[in-house]
């Protein structure tokens, strides 16, 4: 029997920001940021206890505004960054900042007690570099428009580097003094039709994490952060907007993208003419795609058709323990034989009743993932046991 999904409501908050608590490797933690224009927003740290299947949470107020994106620092568990819409001043002004959470371990108690928790996120530094640049670049084509295209991405395994995407700019930040200060050490402006802005971005996890890729309209572009020069590009990756991307954590060059054409596509960035594979299991826009950090044949996608789909893609995955790319061809057959798991959809999760905008694997447990729908419902799910055991068996035998 597979475990039943754990469904957790955010108490009448809309939400679209979800992150795995990446610096915390012991507990299955997720960070959720709420979206409300009229109430004080919150950042909630949600902990899932695998043994008891209990969910505990710690709530922090986020007075700066509604949270559009949230990321956790890769090294310090108490550091997060958010992209927020400033509701205090009552105008849709976007900003980004690094915050500190005062973590108390699990002492925040059970679900019921935490309601009273009035802790706040402590602002470490603001990441609003846009004002300097705006002076040089004639303002956004439409006033007040570019503000929604904020995104913040922390470098893998390094607290001190981070990029923010604003309109069609990329800012490369050097974070110092445990987040107390940050300065822009590089920026790129993407040329192109003015109204196309950058969407979400990811650091390239290989080659010492020196590249950042970001969605840009229907394309995906990448830059080398050392030189701030463009490196590669997948033009027209999707027929419509690209919503998200993710890199295969184990295989160099492999990239997953998803977008408004209801498709998830997999690319080899060395040859971007043709996707390696295309999935079109969703019936509406696909908002996010995530590789499992260890078993990269497991891929999660979430969509505004209210579904999450877990797919198994051994044909474009590495071996579980990061063997070389060129061995893949020879081992592929064996792998399929041993696993017996078929390529394609493993399971469709339809526990949500609204569009699902975010899905994340847990940083601590390979088999657990959380998804967040707009109506504030967080669902924690596990990979079906049969799949898990097969992967596990294979890991042992190989």
């Amino acid at each position: 029997m597979d475990d039943a999904p754990i469904i957790y409501g955010l108490e009448d908050f809309q939400a679209r920001a979800l992150a795995a608590h990446s610096a915390e490797t012991e507990k299955i933690n997720f960070l959720v940021g709420t979206q409300s224009l009229r109430r004080t927003n919150q950042v909630q740290l949600i902990e899932f206890d695998d043994d008891t299947s209990l969910v505990t949470k710690q709530t922090f107020e986020h007075p700066a505004g509604e949270v559009w994106r949230i990321v956790a620092a890769p090294q310090s568990p108490d550091m997060i960054a958010t992209v927020y819409n400033n509701t205090q001043d009552y105008c849709g002004e976007f900003g980004a900042a690094i915050w500190r959470l005062s973590l108390e371990g699990s002492s925040s108690g059970s679900l019921d007690d935490s309601r009273s928790g009035g802790e706040q996120v402590e602002k470490l530094c603001s990441l609003n570099g846009a004002s300097d640049v705006d002076a040089q670049i004639p303002g956004s084509p439409v006033p007040g428009l570019g503000s929604q295209a904020w995104s913040v991405v922390w470098a893998p395994e390094n607290d001190s580097h981070l990029v923010t995407l604003v309109d069609n700019h990329i800012f490369y930040w050097d974070v110092e003094a445990a987040g107390r200060s940050a300065k822009i050490i590089g920026n790129v402006t993407v040329e192109g039709r003015g109204t196309v802005s950058l969407g979400s971005g990811r650091w390239y996890p290989h080659q010492h994490g020196s590249q950042v890729a970001a969605t840009h309209g229907s394309s995906v572009r990448a830059w080398d952060m050392r030189t701030m020069k463009p490196t590669w590009c997948v033009e027209g990756a999707h027929t419509q907007l690209v919503r998200d991307l993710d890199f295969n954590p184990n295989m160099q060059y492999y990239l997953a993208t998803c977008g408004d054409d209801c498709k998830t596509k997999f690319w080899d960035i060395r040859n971007t003419d043709q996707p390696l594979k295309e999935l079109s299991d969703h019936s509406h826009w696909v908002w996010s795609v995530r590789y499992n950090a260890s078993y990269d044949q497991l891929v999660l996608t979430c969509s505004s058709d209210q579904r999450i789909i877990l797919s198994n893609l051994p044909s474009i995955a590495s071996q579980p323990f990061g063997t070389m790319v060129d061995q893949e061809d020879t081992t592929k057959e064996d792998k399929e034989k041993v696993e017996g798991t078929e390529e394609g959809v493993i399971q469709i999760y339809d526990d949500h009743e609204d569009s699902v905008y975010a899905v994340e694997w847990s940083a601590a447990d390979f088999w657990t993932f959380a998804s967040l729908s707009y109506d504030g419902r967080l669902v924690i799910n596990k990979v079906p046991r049969s799949v898990k055991y097969k992967q596990f068996m294979y890991a042992i035998t190989s």
Binding site: D12, Q14, S36, L37, R38, R39, N85, T87, Y90, C91, G92, V142, P143, G144, L145, Q148, T195, T239, Q240, L241, D260, D261, C262, S283, H284, W285, S304, D305, Q306, D350, E353, D354, S355, Y374, D375
Partner: protein
């Protein structure tokens, strides 16, 4: 009794008369008797006289005979003595004669080696071989005598030379097939091992035949090239070309191919083929048979071996040949002219058939058939290729929506007609005047596998594939997609069925087992149609979505003023949808509104929204910042509505298609709205827009409920994303909508 009776019955007078009669009769009889006696006596006396004379003659004869006997005895004695005297001389003479003959033969033998050498020098091989063959036996018999042995050795040497010379001759390329045959025949007489000779012969023949083949290949390729060139410059040079062709093709008959050949007629080509290759092959086979397979009974294993060799040899060559002809025939892409083509193929077939008869165990009929398989598919393919661009160009030139229907009919009709035409054309192959058409097996295979499966069914499958491909191509005119999907549907429902049965009828196919079933084709068609239609919906939906998304993204929702009218983009969207509606309406049937009565109009809308009670409008108009209320609204909405599949497959009806498009568009609107933040007026603008859409879109969707749910959700989302949510009075909204 007679007397008594006479006495009793007769009168006296009668009795008297009777008595006198009797008396006269008796008297005449008496006289007759006397004359007879006298005659006999005379003869007796004469005979006695003769006997007496004979007695006297015989006495003298006896003496004469005795004398004769004595004389004869004397003659015999003298002749014996003479004979014995001559006996000795005669024996001597005959011995002398024998010696002379032997000496003569010996002389011939002594001269034999020189003679053979002379023959080699004179290239008079057959003479040399004959002389050797005549003497070989004698030499062999007397080999034990030393002198003969020497001669034998000399002979052997000479024959060896002869052999070598012959082989050399054999190896010469220029030798004609007939010449070759002679050589081999002679070698065979010289007792060379047949197997080796077979190989030599065959390999030699092969080089020759391959030369021929190469020539033919060049011809064929030239034709193929010319065919390609012809596409561009054919018409301009048609006049010149024809004349040139005549001249050059005459040259070609002498097998030397000019570098630049002008395409010749396929009939000529087949003739040339026959003259060179097939003729030679025939010659080779017949001579081979004559030489190596003369007596299959005694040959036994070796002859079967030889036969086997020959068979593989011929099979290999014929394969090549067929391939060459295939190339040539493939070049004949101008499929309009079936008649010459069939005639040519007929000739070809007949000739191959001749070879087949020569070699009973190899059936080249199969190979020939295989060629025709290729040919037939070739024809089909050409047609497909032609058909596809034609559709496109037709579509490109005229895409006026009103003509769509007409256009569709034309398209389907054109397809049907072209298939029919093709079947009829291919029927030419089955006309009984061609030999191959007579063969039952051929007919069977041709009709079933080639025409029906290879052409007609393959065409449909190809069509299906082509349609499917359209789903993956970008930048296609959506109208074309729509048209094609309708065409698929038509094909699915009737045309395919009709065409297949037409084809079966024409080809007299009765046994349907093993043939592609009708429903597989129609199913494929239907699926293709479905996919095309889905793709159409997606494309159109995407186009409208794009418009809506941009409009939401680009508007400054926070700073906008109070709504005075419906935004222009909504009107554009509506126009777009109504255009689509006309397009679709031209091709597809109406379809039915679901659940709700089809006369649900603007008026019923109010009751619908009213019946939604607290979940609907009333909640908004009395909207308070209470989040509880808000989420209640959202949750209630969800309770009532089942999950709406946005990119769900659509049915082949106008309403279903439009519903699909509308759903996609509205969902986009919803998602876009959720990404923005609104001021009060922004929200009100959304409200107005939503109302406007609701008012005009209801007639396009099958299920009004879906429309309502989606639009409600748009407004709800906007109100959630609004800093000071305050909805407009419904009255005002309606007023604004009515005005614009």
């Amino acid at each position: 009794m007679y007397v008594q009776k006479t006495i009793k019955e007769s009168s006296l007078k009668q009795l008297l008369e009777h008595e006198s009669e009797l008396v006269s009769e008796i008297q005449s009889l008496d006289s007759d008797c006397q004359t007879l006696v006298y005659d006999h006596y005379d003869k007796f006396i004469a005979a006695a006289d003769i006997v007496r004379k004979m007695k006297e003659g015989s006495v003298s004869m006896e003496a004469q005979i005795t004398r004769l006997q004595e004389n004869m005895g004397r003659i015999t004695a003298s002749s014996t003595s003479i004979t014995s005297a001559l006996q000795e001389r005669r024996g001597h003479l005959s011995r002398l004669l024998g010696v002379h003959g032997t000496l003569k033969k010996l002389e011939f033998l002594f001269h034999l080696p020189q003679k053979i050498d002379e023959c080699i020098a004179d290239r008079n091989f057959s003479e040399g071989v004959r002389s050797y063959v005549e003497t070989a036996e004698v030499l062999h018999r007397y080999r034990h005598m030393p002198s003969f042995d020497a001669i034998h050795c000399d002979c052997e040497a000479a024959v060896g030379r002869l052999n070598a010379a012959l082989k050399e001759q054999l190896a010469l390329k220029e030798g004609s097939a007939r010449h070759l045959t002679e050589c081999v025949d002679l070698l065979l007489q010289l007792g060379e091992p047949a197997a080796g000779l077979c190989d030599d012969f065959l390999s030699h023949a092969r080089t020759k035949l391959e030369d021929d083949l190469a020539t033919l290949t060049r011809l064929a390729e030239a034709a193929a090239e010319a065919e390609q060139d012809g596409g561009t410059s054919h018409e301009a040079e048609a006049g010149e070309g024809a004349e040139e062709a005549k001249e050059i093709s005459q040259d070609e008959l002498s097998v030397s191919v000019p570098r630049k050949t002008v395409p010749m007629d396929i009939l000529e080509f087949v003739d040339i083929c026959h003259e060179t290759f097939v003729g030679n092959l025939w010659l080779v086979i017949s001579s081979y048979k004559e030489m190596f397979l003369r007596s299959p009974d005694e040959g036994g294993r070796s002859s079967t071996l030889a036969l086997e060799k020959l068979r593989t040899f011929v099979a290999g060559l014929v394969d090549q040949y067929v391939a060459v002809v295939g190339v040539r025939v493939a070049a004949e892409s101008d499929t309009a002219h079936y008649a010459p083509l069939t005639t040519a193929l007929d000739k070809f077939h007949r000739r191959l058939h001749a070879i087949t008869q020569l070699l009973p165990n190899t059936s080249f009929g199969d190979t020939a058939l295989a060629l025709k398989v290729g040919l037939a598919t070739n024809l089909g393919d050409v047609r497909h290729a032609l058909a596809a661009p034609r559709h496109l160009t037709q579509d490109g030139t005229e895409s006026t929506h009103r003509q769509l229907n007409e256009h569709l009919t034309r398209l389907v009709a054109a397809t049907a007609a072209s298939i029919k035409e093709r079947v009829t054309a291919l029927q030419a192959f089955t006309q009984p005047k061609h030999t191959f058409a007579v063969k039952a097996e051929f007919r069977h295979r041709f009709c079933r596998e080639l025409v029906r499966e290879g052409v007609v069914v393959a065409f449909f499958l190809h069509l299906t594939d082509m349609m499917m491909e359209f789903c993956y191509k970008k930048d296609k005119d959506p109208v074309l997609l729509l048209l094609l999907s309708r065409m698929c549907l038509d094909l699915h429902t009737s045309t395919v069925h009709y065409l297949l049965s037409h084809c079966d009828e024409q080809l007299q196919l009765e046994d349907k087992s093993g043939l592609t079933q009708l429903h597989t084709i129609t199913d494929g068609m239907k699926e293709a149609g479905q996919r095309l239609l889905n793709h159409y919906v997606h494309t159109q939906g995407a186009a409208i979505s794009q418009m809506l998304r941009r409009s939401v993204e680009l508007k400054d929702w926070l700073g906008c003023g109070e709504p005075r009218s419906v935004r222009r983009v909504m009107r554009t969207v509506l126009e777009e949808i109504s255009t689509i509606d006309t397009q679709v309406g031209a091709l597809y049937e109406e379809g039915s509104h679901r659940d709700r009565s089809s006369d649900s109009s603007r008026r019923t809308y109010h009751s619908v929204s009213a019946s939604r009670g607290a979940g609907g409008r009333s909640a908004w108009s009395s909207y308070t910042p209470s989040q509880l209320d808000n989420s209640l609204v959202a949750n209630l909405n969800k309770l009532w509505s089942e999950r709406i599949e946005i990119f769900a497959p659509v049915e082949f009806t106008r309403l279903s298609i439009l519903t699909g498009i509308v759903k996609i568009s509205l969902k986009t609107l919803l998602e876009s709205v959720r990404l923005r933040t609104f001021s009060r007026f922004g929200l009100q603008q959304v409200q107005v827009d939503a109302h406007y859409l609701r008012t005009y879109l209801w007639s396009y969707v099958a299920d009004e409920h879906v429309l309502n749910v989606l639009l409600d959700e748009v407004v709800t989302s906007a109100s959630v994303r609004c800093c000071e949510p305050e909805l407009m009075e419904q009255r005002v909204v309606e007023f604004i909508c009515d005005q614009s």
